[in-house]
C-alpha cells in the first residue's frame, strides 16, 4: 500500500489539530510543571489560564522581529522554518486510526527518520547564522548530539521492523494485535525514548540551548515569531515523538471498548506527559557525558538488542 488516505478536509483537519495541540502544550506544560513544583502556573487569562496560549501568541506576533545586523540574514530567517516544516510534515505518515491519516507510505518509518535528520539543519544553521558565540556553541553541540543520536534512534527501531517485517507504520500497528512491542522490544523502547528526547532537544537533553550555560544557545538571537517557530517546533517534535512511540511500541490505535482514534490520542497524551515529567525531574548531563553515554552504552545496547531480536525471529521462522 502506498496511497494517499485523506482528502483536503482531512489534511486541513490534521494540520489544524496538530498545531493547536502543540500550542496548547505550552499551557499544559506550564501548568503541569507548576503543579509538580508546588506553584500555581499561568491561571489568570481565561478559565484555568487556558487563554494564556492566545496571550502568548499575541505577544509573540507583536514583538519586534529583530534580525541582528551582524547575522547571516537569509540563513537566519530560513533556519526556524526548517524545524517547523519538517516536524509538521512528519505528521503525514502518522497512523491516527484506521482510515484516518494523510498518507500511507510503505517506507513511513524511514520517512520519519529522514525528516528528523533534516530538522537538525534548522538548529545548526540558526547557531551558525546568528554570529553569536553562545549560538555557535549551541549549534556545535546540536550537530554532534543529533547526528549521533540519530544513529541510535535508527538502530533502536530496527527490532520493531524485524518483528513486524515492514516499514509501513499502519502494518506495524496491525502487527501488534497479539501484543504490544513494548514487551519484546523493551530495550529498543528505552533507547528510542532517549534518542527522541535528544533529537528534539528537550530537557534534560537540551544541551544546544542549555539556558544556564549558553543562555539560550542556538536561539539566543531570535525573537518574535522566529523564536515562536522554534518554540512551537519543539512542541511539535514532542507530539510527533509521542505519537511515534505509541505507534511503534504501544499498539497505536489498538485497544478495547473505546474508538481507535481516542485510544491513539489517549496514549499519545500520556507520552507527552512523560516528556514533561522528565523535564521537571532530571538534571542535564554534560556534553561529553552525553556523547560517551551514546556511543559506549546506547550503541552496543542497540546492536545487542538487534542481534537478539534477529536470532529470536530467525529461530521462530525456521
Amino acid at each position: 500500500m502506498n496511497a494517499g488516505l485523506g482528502d483536503a478536509a482531512d489534511i486541513i483537519g490534521i494540520l489544524v489539530s496538530t498545531i493547536s495541540v502543540s500550542a496548547l502544550l505550552i499551557w499544559v506544560e506550564r501548568r503541569l510543571l507548576a503543579v509538580w513544583q508546588d506553584r500555581l502556573g499561568p491561571n489568570r487569562v481565561g478559565p484555568l489560564g487556558l487563554m494564556q496560549v492566545a496571550a502568548d501568541m499575541i505577544k509573540m506576533f507583536f514583538k519586534e522581529d529583530w534580525i541582528p545586523p551582524f547575522s547571516d540574514k537569509p540563513v537566519f530567517v530560513l533556519a526556524p522554518t526548517i524545524v517547523f516544516i519538517t516536524m509538521l510534515t512528519g505528521f503525514a505518515v502518522i497512523p491516527f486510526a484506521p482510515g484516518v491519516g494523510i498518507i500511507d507510505f510503505n517506507f513511513g518509518l524511514l520517512y520519519f527518520l529522514a525528516l528528523s535528520s533534516l530538522s537538525v539543519y534548522s538548529i545548526v544553521l540558526a547557531g551558525y547564522a546568528s554570529n553569536n558565540k553562545y549560538s555557535l556553541l549551541g549549534g556545535l553541540r546540536a550537530a554532534a548530539q543529533t547526528v549521533s543520536y540519530e544513529v541510535f534512534m535508527g538502530i533502536s527501531i530496527m527490532g520493531v521492523v524485524m518483528l513486524s517485517g515492514t516499514f509501513n507504520l499502519r502494518e506495524i500497528v496491525e502487527a501488534q494485535r497479539d501484543g504490544w512491542f513494548i514487551l519484546p522490544q523493551f530495550f529498543g523502547f528505552i533507547i528510542f525514548l532517549i534518542a527522541v528526547i535528544a533529537e528534539s532537544r528537550r530537557a534534560p537533553l537540551d544541551l544546544p540551548e542549555a539556558e544556564q550555560e549558553l543562555i539560550g544557545g542556538f536561539h539566543t538571537e531570535y525573537s518574535g515569531m522566529k523564536f515562536g517557530m522554534f518554540f512551537v517546533g519543539e512542541y511539535l517534535a514532542i507530539t510527533l515523538s509521542s505519537a511515534l512511540v505509541v505507534t511503534l511500541f504501544f499498539g497505536g490505535w489498538l485497544g478495547p471498548w473505546l474508538p481507535p482514534l481516542l485510544w491513539f490520542c489517549l496514549k499519545t497524551t500520556i507520552g507527552i506527559l512523560l516528556f514533561i515529567l522528565l523535564r521537571g525531574a532530571l538534571p542535564r548531563p554534560r556534553y561529553d557525558q552525553l556523547m560517551t553515554f551514546g556511543w559506549k552504552v546506547l550503541l552496543p545496547a542497540g546492536l545487542l538488542n538487534l542481534l537478539v531480536t534477529g536470532a529470536v525471529v530467525l529461530s521462530l521462522h525456521s
Binding site: 556553541l137 530537557a203 534534560p204 538534571p283 542535564r284 554534560r286 556534553y287
Partner: protein, 592 residues
C-alpha cells in the same frame, strides 16, 4: 641579615610570636601595638616585610597559613593614632593560623612621597586581588605585582576612592552626564584584550575563542564577568572581572553614624541579612566596651542561624538549577519563604531586617514567637531528607559535580578560602567552634566536613550545616533566657529612654545620641564571624567620633572568586557553571 649580629634585647612583655620573630630574623624593628581585639599587632619597616611574612608562612612551627585580609588605612586625618603611624598610609596584613588558633596583624607605615611596597602575591596567590584592591582604593603601588590594575572601580576612574580627599557623595560633584563619546570611551575600556593578561590568541593547533560570560548571564549570580579562553568547549584559561556591583560600602562607613551604618551591612551579603549585622555590631561593642545581655545574644544566634538556613536553601536550589535540574529550587524557595515568614514576624522584614543594634537587638521577641519556629524546626529535617533523594542521590547530578572543581586543603588555604568551601576539603575549622562569639560555646553542634573538595562535597557540607543550624535553633528555642534584649549602656542605639523625662542629663544624652549618634571611643577592633559563605570580618577604626574613621569589610566571597581560573582550567563550560554554583557567592559580598 647577617648571622653574627649583636644579641637583641627584647622587652619582657613582648608576645611570644614577636619574640620568636625578633630572634629568628635578627631584626629589632618590631613595634607592638596594643589593640582591643587581642590580635597581636606588629609594626615593621618596609624592608623587613617580605622576610617576616615568608617566615610566618613557611618557617615557624604552626605557621600562619591563611592570608585573612590585606588592606590599608589613610592615616592623614586621624587624630588618635599610634606613634608609628605618623606616616600617611598604613598597609595592614592580617594572617591567621589554624594550628595556633591565633591571628597576627602586620602593619607597614608609608609616607606620601613613596607609596610603594613589595608584592607578596608570590607568597600568597590570594594577595593578588587584595593588592589590586589596595592600589585601586588608595593608590599604593605593589612592586613586582603581575597585573596591578583597577579591580573594583572602572578602568577609566580618576583618583583613589578610599583616600580621605576623594569625594564620597554625588552632591560633592557637578551633575553627572554621559555623552555618547564618553560612553564609547567607557565601553572601549571594558573590552577584554587577551594580550593584556598574557593570553595567546592561538596555539599551534587551533585559534582560541574568547567568550565574555557576563556581566549579564543567568548563571553568574549577579553582575559578574568571566572572560573565557576557549578551545572548542574546553576552557584554557579564565579571567574573572569583578567590580560591577561595587557600591562603596566601606567609603559609606566613613560618612554614616555608627548606628545608621547597620542597614548598609545587611546589603553586603544580601542573602545573609542580619548575620551581616553581627560582626559589625560586635566590633562596635568591643570599641565601646558594651556587654550584651544574654537574651540578646541568644536572639542574635537564633536570627543568624535562621539567615544561614535561608542562604543555604537558596544555594541548594540554585545549585541544582545550574546543573540543569529544574524543580528543586521551587521546593527550596517554599521552605525559604517559611524562614522569611518567621524572620518577618520577629524582625519586621524579610531579607534585610537590620535587626541588630549596638548593644542588643531592635526589639524583644513578639508574643508566641516560638510557635512558628517550633513548627519549622520539626518540618525542615524531613524535607532535607527528601531533597537528598531528589538532588544529591541523582546519578546525573553526581556525574556532573563529583571530581569537578576540586582543590585540596593546602590550595584552599593558599587562596584564602574559608567557610564551607574549606571544610569540604576535610579541615574541620569553624569559627563558631574555634573562637566562639555571642555564646556559641553554649550550643551543641558539629562541624560538617567532606573530603574531596569538589563541587559535590561543597554542597554536602552546606546541607549538613543546615541540619546543624536547625539543631542550634532548637536549642535557642528551649533555652531562651529572660531579661533585657538590649544592654543598659549610654552608647547603645537607640539610647535608653526611660529616664529622659526625669533628669536633664539623660535627656541631653538621649538627644545627642539620637541626632548625632553615639561617640565611640577611639581604638581599633576587628571581629570575625562564621558567616553564611565563609569568614566575614569588620575591621573598625574609631577616631573618637560619631562616625567610623575606617570601615574595612573582609568578605569571604572576594577571595573565593579569585580562585575560579585555577578551578576551571581544562574543564568544559558546563563544569564552570557547576563550579560557580558550588562556590555560593553573592556579588555584593565580593564588590561591597
Amino acid at each position: 641579615m647577617d648571622g653574627n649580629a649583636d644579641k637583641i634585647e627584647i622587652p619582657s612583655n613582648t608576645p611570644a610570636i614577636v619574640r620568636e620573630l625578633t630572634e629568628r630574623l635578627n631584626i629589632n624593628d618590631f613595634t607592638v601595638q596594643p589593640t582591643l581585639d587581642g590580635i597581636t599587632t606588629v609594626w615593621l619597616p618596609r624592608q623587613n616585610l617580605r622576610a617576616t611574612l615568608q617566615h610566618l608562612k613557611f618557617q615557624i612551627t604552626s605557621p600562619y597559613l591563611l592570608l585573612f585580609d590585606l588592606t590599608a588605612i589613610d592615616e592623614r586625618q586621624r587624630t588618635h593614632r599610634h606613634a608609628l603611624s605618623d606616616s600617611a598610609f598604613t598597609v595592614v596584613y592580617h594572617l591567621l593560623s589554624f594550628e595556633r588558633n591565633d591571628d597576627i596583624r602586620i602593619k607597614v607605615a608609608l609616607n606620601e612621597a613613596d607609596l610603594s611596597l613589595p608584592t607578596i602575591s608570590d607568597i600568597w596567590p590570594s594577595a593578588n586581588w587584595y593588592e589590586r584592591e589596595v592600589w585601586d582604593m588608595f593608590g599604593i603601588v605593589f612592586e613586582g605585582h603581575p597585573h596591578l590594575r583597577r579591580i573594583l572601580m572602572p578602568p577609566t576612574w580618576q583618583g583613589h576612592p578610599l583616600r580621605k580627599e576623594h569625594y564620597a557623595r554625588a552632591t560633592e560633584m557637578t551633575a553627572f552626564s554621559l555623552p555618547d563619546e564618553r560612553q564609547e570611551i567607557e565601553q572601549d575600556a571594558l573590552r577584554f584584550v587577551p594580550e593584556d593578561w598574557g593570553m595567546r590568541r592561538r596555539s599551534e593547533e587551533s585559534d582560541f575563542m574568547f567568550l565574555n560570560m557576563g556581566p549579564n548571564h543567568p548563571s553568574v549570580h549577579g553582575a559578574f564577568r568571566i572572560a573565557l579562553q576557549l578551545d572548542g568547549e574546553e576552557i584554557i584559561d579564565a579571567l574573572p572581572d569583578i567590580g560591577y556591583h561595587h557600591r562603596g560600602a566601606e567609603k559609606m562607613g566613613e560618612r554614616q553614624s555608627w548606628h545608621t551604618y547597620i542597614p548598609y551591612t545587611d546589603r553586603v551579603d544580601y542573602l545573609g541579612g542580619s548575620s551581616n549585622n553581627l560582626p559589625y555590631v560586635l566590633a562596635v561593642e568591643q570599641l565601646a566596651g558594651i556587654d550584651v545581655p544574654e537574651r540578646a545574644q541568644v536572639i542574635r544566634v537564633m536570627i543568624t542561624e535562621l539567615y544561614r538556613l535561608a542562604s543555604h536553601l537558596l544555594f541548594y536550589g540554585t545549585y541544582a538549577q545550574d546543573v540543569g535540574q529544574m524543580s528543586p529550587i521551587f521546593y527550596m524557595f517554599i521552605d525559604r519563604e517559611k524562614v522569611f515568614d518567621i524572620l518577618e514576624s520577629i524582625t519586621g522584614a524579610r531579607m534585610h531586617s537590620s535587626y541588630f543594634r549596638i548593644g542588643g537587638v531592635a526589639m524583644d521577641l513578639p508574643q508566641g514567637w516560638d510557635k512558628r519556629i517550633r513548627e519549622f524546626v520539626n518540618y525542615l529535617p524531613a524535607r532535607l531528607d527528601h531533597y537528598d533523594k531528589l538532588v544529591m542521590q541523582n546519578s546525573i547530578l553526581k556525574r556532573r559535580t563529583q571530581g569537578v572543581g576540586a582543590y585540596n586543603t593546602a590550595e584552599a588555604v593558599d587562596w584564602s578560602v574559608t567557610g564551607p568551601g574549606l571544610r569540604a576539603t576535610g579541615l574541620a575549622w569553624d569559627y563558631r567552634k574555634a573562637r566562639p562569639y555571642s555564646g556559641y560555646e553554649n550550643y551543641e553542634f558539629e562541624i560538617p566536613i567532606a573530603s574531596h573538595g569538589d563541587c559535590y562535597d561543597r554542597c554536602v557540607v552546606r546541607i549538613e550545616e543546615m541540619r546543624q543550624s536547625v539543631r542550634i535553633i532548637a536549642q535557642c528555642l528551649e533555652n531562651m533566657p529572660e531579661g533585657p534584649h538590649k544592654a543598659h549602656h549610654p552608647l547603645t542605639t537607640p539610647p535608653p529612654k526611660a529616664r529622659t523625662l526625669h533628669d536633664i542629663e539623660t535627656l541631653i544624652q538621649h538627644f545627642l545620641n539620637v541626632s548625632w549618634g553615639p561617640v565611640i571611643p577611639a581604638g581599633e577592633s576587628c571581629v570575625t564571624i562564621e558567616a553564611t559563605k565563609g569568614l566575614n570580618a569588620y575591621y573598625l577604626i574609631s577616631d573618637g567620633g560619631t562616625m567610623s574613621y575606617r570601615t574595612r569589610i573582609r568578605t569571604p566571597s572576594f577571595p573565593h572568586l579569585q580562585m575560579i581560573p585555577m578551578m576551571c582550567r581544562g574543564m568544559m563550560i558546563a563544569d564552570l557553571i557547576a563550579i560557580l554554583a558550588s562556590i555560593d557567592f553573592v556579588m555584593a559580598d565580593v564588590d561591597r
